[in-house]
Assembly symmetry: C2
């Protein structure tokens, strides 16, 4: 059969029903999941995948493939069904194991877990924001490698995605940057978990997206594959990002429950599923794919493979004509760093006494010069966070720059960075004040879950911020970031440690890093090269920068462990204690997870933040378990007891207490 012949048997309807019933069967077999979204959105997904999506199921990593994001991640059964019928490495057995431990078909799509899944979605709104990142990455790649870059980014979003605030931030940024290769399909089913969307929203979504500078189109019948196809063509033809509103019926075809929230998050149940089969004239057993559908998908996949082959030829030509640029393309996609990295960073560590955000700025400037793939930006705090590198801005006219002005949109910044990182070919960073990490936390969690090496520069890291007061003074934030599994949290104590922190951040390829930096100046600290009280990241690894210790005189009587700005405070305290005849070891635990307490001596921690995470490591945890206050930094530090005098007194009291 040819594609034309197949079309004659209305393969569209057949394919759409295949997707619908595969999804419903998966949910039914799992007795868990969301059948409504797949059944309503199957036609738009089919129109997109069969007539527009450029992909090669045999190679999900093709650099120039179109990206597809299911922002409404609860509809995962639809995505898995698509991947299966198009021949991705996702056999029916995996569909049948939907939502079971160890299957490749988890409850929500997880990137890296399932071939063909581009992003982890489920936390609503973030898929849309990551799609903006993917589309931005395409333009940025195109600016660097126009000969081999020409793809689109598609997303299907639900009502929930559009209610979430991050949809505003991301859509506004996409409109501002004119990301014309971004096409967002809105599964407009007017139903949320609690019922009709009329319960909670009256937004005119088309007008809203138009206000962001988007092109908008409406498809009034979401089962009309031709109409959806036409809308997609119009979307691609328009130079603006496109918002395609597709009116659908949730749980389409499920008698008695379609169009209601009852089909959102529960299996249809055997009777309803049987009735749906009967109504559709679908007399195939569960998990069936008609041969005609298999065949058309095989042909379509073949077309994708052919386009991939053409691209390979183009890449070969590109590599022949511009070997350096092609090599850079390949290197960046592999997340390999050039050999000059160590030298570049070593050139920075001059040991100046200044704010770690300032030292960080030099690192970022040096790395930006070295790594063309290093891109990022600030949520409107470039100057304050030490991320104003002077590198060119990305604009809608020119995407060759490496700095994105994210605006006051922390959450979208983090989610867009995740998207750029997922796209491949880039290393990404963002910046804001540490206290506003709360605004982007959901995307940081997702970066950790997805293993994306996004670097967050988080400055103004304690109450030493001073006058801006408690709304701007982080207290619980360093500790709360340490709780996110897989997030590397580094709080360097001085310039040398800041350089080391950047080395670790940029060297890490499988997860995010938070760099916690000071607003205020910090003294350069002496280095003790053979520190024994910190684990190395791996056996034989370079330990430089891991430790600042002060260990003088006789046997150590107390170990003080501190991070960031409190290391220099600890040094002063140690000096004071020495004058009282007490020998102190000071350990700088830039990465607390590497700190190994010396349990043979009394231990004290000092960190300008909540203490609960330290209490298992030390005998006395000195910190701040309350909100800060507005006043000059030194006054606030004194107010919370973080002075040499107050800390020395606390430690002396501890030692007296332990003696008795």
């Amino acid at each position: 059969m040819t594609t034309d012949e197949l079309t004659a048997v209305d393969v569209d309807l057949l394919a759409v029903d295949t997707l619908r019933f595969l999804a419903a069967d998966m949910v039914q077999a799992a007795n868990s999941g969301h059948p409504g979204m797949p059944m309503g959105a199957a036609p738009m997904a089919w129109a997109l995948w069969s007539r527009h999506l450029k992909h090669d199921p045999a190679d999900p990593d093709w650099a120039d493939r179109d990206r597809f994001v299911l922002s409404a991640g609860h509809g995962s059964a639809l995505l898995y069904s698509l991947l299966h019928v198009f021949g991705y490495d996702l056999p029916l057995a995996e569909l049948a194991a939907f939502r079971q431990l160890g299957s490749r078909t988890p409850g929500h799509p997880e990137v890296g877990h399932t071939p063909g899944v581009e992003t982890t979605t489920g936390p609503l709104g973030q898929g849309l924001a990551m799609a903006v990142g993917l589309a931005l990455a395409e333009r940025m790649t195109h600016a660097r490698h126009p000969e081999i870059t020409d793809h689109h980014t598609y997303a299907i979003v639900g009502d929930g995605c559009l209610m979430e605030g991050v949809s505003h931030e991301a859509a506004s940024l996409a409109g501002h940057l004119g990301l014309g290769r971004l096409v967002v399909l809105w599964d407009d089913n007017a139903i949320t978990i609690d019922g009709s969307t009329a319960l909670s929203t009256s937004d005119d979504q088309l007008a809203r997206f138009a206000a962001y500078g988007w092109h908008t189109v409406t498809v009034t019948d979401g089962t009309d594959v031709e109409a959806i196809d036409a809308a997609l063509r119009a979307a691609k033809a328009d130079p603006r990002p496109s918002f395609v509103a597709v009116r659908t019926v949730i749980g389409h075809g499920a008698p008695g429950v379609e169009g209601t929230s009852a089909v959102h998050g529960s299996p249809l149940g055997e009777p309803v599923l049987a009735a749906a089969r009967a109504r559709a004239g679908w007399d195939l057993p569960p998990f069936s794919v008609p041969d005609a559908v298999t065949e058309v998908c095989r042909l379509l996949a073949g077309e994708g493979a052919a386009r991939h082959a053409e691209w390979r030829d183009a890449f070969t030509a590109y590599a022949a004509g511009a070997p350096d640029r092609a090599a850079d393309f390949t290197r960046a996609r592999a997340r390999r760093l050039p050999g000059e990295l160590s030298g570049t960073l070593a050139a920075i560590a001059e040991g100046r006494s200044r704010a770690t955000r300032q030292s960080s700025q030099d690192c970022l400037i040096a790395l930006t010069g070295l790594l063309p793939e290093l891109v990022g930006g600030s949520a409107d705090l470039a100057g304050s966070t030490g991320t104003a590198t002077g590198a060119a801005l990305v604009t809608r006219e020119d995407f060759a720059g490496s700095v994105i002005a994210f605006g006051i949109r922390e959450f979208a910044m983090a989610a867009v960075l995740n998207g750029i990182s997922l796209h491949g070919g880039f290393r990404t960073w963002g910046s804001t004040f540490l206290v506003f990490s709360d605004y982007l936390r959901p995307a940081l969690r997702l970066a950790a879950l997805m293993g994306q090496p996004v670097i967050h520069v988080l400055t103004h890291d304690s109450v030493a911020v001073g006058e801006d007061g408690p709304t701007h003074q982080p207290v619980e934030h360093v500790e709360s970031l340490r709780l996110i599994p897989g997030l590397q949290v580094l709080r360097p104590a001085d310039e040398a440690e800041t350089v080391e922190a950047w080395r670790r951040a940029i060297s890490r390829t499988d997860g995010p890093t938070a760099l916690i930096l000071s607003r205020q100046s910090l003294p350069a600290l002496p280095i003790v090269p053979n520190a024994t009280h910190l684990k190395t990241a791996s056996a034989g690894a370079d330990r430089s920068g891991l430790s600042r210790e002060r260990e003088e005189g006789g046997a150590v009587q107390v170990e003080i462990v501190a991070t960031g700005s409190e290391v220099s405070l600890a040094m002063e305290v140690a000096e004071r204690l020495a004058s009282g005849g007490i020998t102190t070891r000071v350990v700088s635990a830039m990465d607390r997870s590497l700190y190994v307490p010396d349990r043979s001596v009394p231990r004290v921690s000092i960190e300008a933040g909540v203490t609960s995470g330290w209490r298992g490591l030390v005998d006395l945890a000195i910190g701040i378990d309350e909100f800060g206050a507005s006043g000059p930094g030194p006054a606030v530090l004194a107010h919370v007891g973080l002075t040499t005098e107050a800390v020395t007194a606390q430690i002396t009291a501890l030692l007296s207490e332990l003696e008795t």
Copy 2:
């Protein structure tokens, strides 16, 4: 002088310049702060406060006053200047102590700290969302007490507020609910910290707000007090919420720097400040208020006091005609609970084995019946979180209900609840899945900082969520909530503890509470009335529900402390250990901050989340320090080692180790 006579000397211009120079002087004296916003926005603030705002500076707590929110909280100097000139208890000495420790003029406005400050602002966008809450509370109060309720809510927002995602969520909700008494003034100065707004946004804000169902107006000259006044009159006349775009120049009147980001967040410096004075013909020394301004403000304050007196008469009449309703009004504003509370809750604790979210639902239903002031809603998870109480919905047609359908807008939900709580007269609750507490975390922090008793019902509290997978399985969240100073975090183990948790949540009047509840059913546990291993909240307090202990046989050999669903696991483990001859004490630490470890015996904690916060309390912290996985709940729990067998083995191994 009469008001008319004063107007004749162009007191408007005089007053506006007074506000400008007071603010600039404050920032200059502090050598820290934001002069640009006050200088640009002074005319709109003056137009609002002199011609519209209904308030009585002598009594900032007047229930029916208009509310004013400075969402652009960095412009605090403007607000303090307004409060001073209108005669609030904020003398010049406090303005001169701007941003100093202990002053009443902190860097960002802090409610409860300064008379007349309605909300704590600074974290951008949240002021707008709290203003929506205040405006909603006005309508809800009006529905209950129409005779004594008739006020407006005004907010000044900046570009940053409008870029933040929460502005979308909140504005969309306000449009949906038709909050016509909400008037938002946009300080459209086209400048952010990093420069021109054109760097990062191209939004058509008027079209955007119109898409939300708002009325919009533009004032093209932000120094034209008459034009602003006219726009405010139009805004109040329109039945929709109003968005008034006022084109301003940041740092208006500061030669050489006005209209640039240079005046955003730094003092002008003496030379520029002197030049500004010269240009304005302002030859008064720093911190001056011309007599004419003092006089007109005194007259205006007098008008406010007269309206307040009229209101007091109206309230007296109301109390005479409807004493019960008036008493309820007064009781609710005082956050006093009726005496029936204990009985109402005691009637619930039947000790059924079921999910704590289900037990919680009964508490919420009972409390809603008892407390007409108890209002709240879910971010589209009413059914799932056990917050579908059957109480009437709040709609744009009828605000008498007690349930708000917040839609999929967690952040706005939390911020709007803060606003309702700040308004007074209500107790508030919200609900979503625990994992999505990340989305609302910034507002929860602000609730804690402001001491607002908002109750958050956070369910699906562990990997036992199961099939939805790691995006929906909280791991770090309980611990991360415990880090927020002043947030009461309660994770009850069964129905009786859930009732006790609600009792504590509703009894607390000075800070927020997070109720952490299970999706899955939990067995009712035996109560040990005389538990000795948990601190009481205060000496002599009722300790019922604080503790579930199992302490049998001889001397205790190991103490297991657990929370929520893991208490029943601990009980099973204790039974298993007992069969091996080991006597175990099990402690349920619903509120971990009250747990006092028995350091005379080995201790183990069990909680289905990250362990770092437990390590200082126990010898072995059993938990989950990685992301979960998609699969049936019991399979996932087994995967992470939270089974009776695995935990028993770990504890047995610990005891063997300690013996040797």
